[in-house]
Symmetry: C2
Subunit: 106 residues, 2 copies
DNA sequence: AGAAACTACTTGACAATGCAAAGTAGCTGT
DNA sequence: ACAGCTACTTTGCATTGTCAAGTAGTTTCT
């Protein structure tokens, strides 16, 4: 089974949700998502998502030093991002409800 | 909000699930899905899904007359389709669990 | 009979997004 | 100096939903 398609769209909302908890950076977001069940997620997938979110103005970015390793890009959510996240969560609930209606009902 | 991306992959499994309940045809599948919450689904999206499922051998197809209107393509699920649906359902549960972990946890 | 409305399926161009695979580079410990 | 970890980037690719039409058979209303 290939779960690639199931991830579409969901990932963007989840990344935003992680950032909404407080300023963080790519590598940390990656580990949080992987620990929570997105275990096949790779950097080449995550970083473009961050770029997209930034372009849409949903997150803000600053470069800062790391206590260990190369410097990081720290992301935080914007008011637009909060609004988008709320809309996303609602929409996601609607779709999953519809899917459950169909899949559960034999 | 655009729910296009959220549909990806989910739709294929849902269509298969509807067909698994018994032989049916495109137009009917469309109305079942729309009644269950996929209210923006259109024909141009559904029919390509059916073609894909058929190409993968997950559903079988026969052409038959309709009691009203033009003739229909009747679809039924194959053993491969049943197996795929089971795998899909499991995988879907896993992804939605992961997403819930992330989205619910403030 | 003619027109409109409904049933039913088809097609081509398009955009969004995840993945694979590879690269660049800083830092730490041996 | 070398290995291993941290951290971000880039290019090319495949999949899939949508838009916007189009083709046709059947029924109903006038």
């Amino acid at each position: 089974m290939d779960d690639t398609q199931l991830l579409k769209g969901v990932l963007e909302g989840c990344v935003l949700s992680v950032i909404s908890r407080g300023e963080t950076y790519g590598y940390e977001i990656l580990s949080v998502l992987m620990e929570n069940g997105f275990d096949t997620l790779i950097e080449g997938t995550l970083y473009p998502v961050l770029t997209r979110l930034q372009k849409k103005g949903l997150i803000a970015c600053r470069v800062g030093k790391s206590p260990l390793g190369p410097s990081r890009k720290y992301f935080s959510i914007t008011p637009e991002g909060e609004a988008y996240l709320a809309a996303f969560t609602e929409n996601y609930a609607k779709i999953t409800q519809a899917a459950r209606n169909i899949l559960d009902n034999e």
